[in-house]
């Protein structure tokens, strides 16, 4: 898979195919999610794509009632809040994602350490221009 460039566009395309792909440094084995074109540990650009198993646990979170435009357009508001969190994958890296299947009405019941599995959601894009904002995109999320 070396011919696929280590770009955000490649990562997005994998997400669209419901695959969680990281870049692994061939030289020092460090694993990067989101994928990076240059290894932060040894600065090498010799990388390979690795599919992660999508299993992880919650390390930090919030429940948001006042979201940015793409979340408002997706139907979220004070009456219908959503959870965003930081997830530590079994393979090591951490990633930000929306967290589904947790008790957003009672955030005090949401537990750090909760086991999560990767899933994929569709929402509008992050743009100020309406034509670009309404283009649907697949995003990584996690299910409790």
């Amino acid at each position: 898979m070396k011919e696929i460039p280590f770009t955000i566009a490649s990562y997005d395309k994998f997400i669209e195919e419901k695959k969680l792909m990281a870049s692994k440094c061939v030289k020092c084995s460090a694993l990067w999610l989101p994928p990076r074109p240059i290894c932060l540990t040894c600065k090498s650009d010799a990388l390979e794509w690795i599919e992660l198993n999508g299993k992880g646990k919650l390390v930090a979170f919030t429940v948001i009632g006042v979201g940015p435009m793409p979340m408002i357009d997706a139907g979220y508001n004070r009456e219908n809040p959503y959870c965003s969190g930081i997830v530590e994958l079994e393979e090591g890296p951490r990633i930000s994602a929306q967290i589904l299947g947790v008790d957003v009405a009672h955030p005090e019941n949401i537990k750090i350490g909760t086991s999560l599995t990767a899933t994929f959601v569709e929402r509008g894009s992050w743009h100020f221009v309406e034509e670009l904002a309404k283009v649907k995109k697949t995003y990584l999320a996690f299910q409790a």
Partner: protein, 424 residues
């Protein structure tokens, strides 16, 4: 990273500082806010000076492109203050924009290029509706990975709060006590966005209920008021409205000169003896969620350059965009131990105006307001007034403030600037 001990090429001093009133300012634009700060700064220079001696401008601005549909704010600030054709550099580093501008100004003088520069920042934010302002601010995080996960700024700091609660047993009440403390300071600051204590706000709400003929809430104290979700709703759990700084319009600027000419302008110049700046990763890529690594690094650089330690600093203005941010800041700066000691410092009165380490005597971002591109320079304005004994009703009185510090964070810790000031 190997750190070379850094020092300024020559000494730099601050001889003037001013700010516009902070708040919702519907009738003025970025450049006019900056002009207000400029005039206030000119009046603060003890022996007066000819503004035409200013050789360059460094202007922080985070998002006029988004809020005013206007770029080149530095150039417009030069124009309105009569300083065209001097070079005007606009600096953007989210909420740290003006601290980075001040630091660039310091380096402009330290390098020998200039003898006198104007540095500060301006932000006009109240134009857009809340949803668009939320989005404009979120542009300071990594929109590809963090905003795409639904994170807003209150949400990113809320996540740090949940990690802090999990690791150290920090409570939401610990956080709310930071807000109570900063409002009690800001109530004495005539330029603050909300110059009111939380008790003032609570009493206002009671009066409003009474006037409208509604049942008057029977809160026993501020904490009970803050626990009432009808009056203090959740923004991004656990952050409630009163954990968050407001959306504010405002500007601030300072006058920097070469040390050897500082006494031409005042008998009490303030010398910049330490300066540090660092960048940081996205939240999910950091080794810790309960402190801000870039802030620790910037503090270390500033302390090393100044040859002083946290115990020597008398007062500090720190970046309290959210209450948890102040709890992390006072630990990252080495004033209190990370965890319970820092989390309970406000509640125990240690960071109060008459405490052992007064923090945010201006009211902080929380109460004074947070016009993002002006915030760092406004922190320095407070330090200028406090160190010279000119802070009026909120003047810290129980100590000789010969050393002070400001700590300004860009975004959720992807930039940090720490600077140390000395009165000799």
């Amino acid at each position: 990273m190997t750190q070379r001990k850094r020092k300024l090429g020559r000494g730099v001093a601050m001889v003037g500082a001013g700010m516009s009133p902070f708040g919702i300012r519907p009738d003025v634009t970025n450049r006019e806010l900056f002009a207000e700060a400029f005039l206030d700064m000119v009046n603060s220079v003890d022996r007066g000076f000819d503004p035409q001696e200013i050789e360059a401008l460094y202007v922080g601005n985070c998002g006029a492109e988004m809020w005013e549909a206007q770029s080149v704010i530095g150039v417009l600030c030069a124009d309105i203050t009569g300083l065209t054709p001097r070079p005007a550099l606009k600096v953007e580093d989210a909420c740290a924009s003006s601290s980075v501008a001040v630091r660039e100004g310091i380096m402009g003088i330290a390098s020998g290029m200039y003898d006198m520069v104007l540095a500060g920042g301006t932000e006009k934010m109240s134009i857009l509706p809340t949803n668009w302002t939320t989005m404009a601010l979120a542009c300071g995080s990594d929109t590809t990975y963090e905003s795409a996960a639904g994170f807003t700024f209150p949400g990113l700091y809320a996540s740090m709060a949940t990690a802090h609660m999990e690791r150290y047993g920090t409570t939401h009440d610990d956080m709310l006590r930071v807000a109570i403390k900063n409002h009690s300071n800001g109530a004495l600051n005539p330029k603050a966005h909300f110059p009111k204590t939380i008790k003032n706000v609570m009493d206002m709400r009671k009066d409003q209920a009474e006037k409208k003929g509604k049942p008057v809430p029977s809160w026993a104290d501020e904490m009970e008021f803050l626990h009432d979700p009808r009056y203090n709703p959740v923004i991004a759990w656990p952050n409630t409205l009163f954990d968050c700084c407001p959306v504010t319009d405002g500007a601030a600027c300072i006058l920097l000169v070469a040390e050897e000419i500082a006494k031409n302008f005042t008998n009490i110049p303030l010398y910049i003896i330490g300066s540090g700046q660092a960048s940081g990763h996205n939240l999910h890529d950091r080794e810790t969620l309960t402190s801000i690594p870039a802030a620790k690094l910037a503090a270390q650089q500033a302390y090393e350059m100044a040859g002083v330690g946290p115990q020597d600093i008398k007062i500090a203005e720190v970046h309290d965009c959210f209450t948890i941010a102040e709890i992390m800041a006072i630990a990252d700066l080495g004033f209190f131990k990370e965890g319970k000691e820092a989390a309970t410092a406000a509640g125990e009165g240690k960071t109060a105006r008459d405490g052992v380490k007064p923090i945010n005597v201006s009211g902080g971002l929380k109460c004074k307001g947070h016009p993002v591109g002006a915030t760092g320079a406004a922190q320095v304005v407070e330090i200028f007034q406090q160190m010279r004994g000119e802070a009026g009703a909120r003047q810290v009185k129980n100590m000789d403030i010969n050393l002070a510090l400001n700590h300004n964070i860009g975004a959720h810790g992807t930039t940090a600037v720490v600077q140390i000031y000395e009165r000799r």
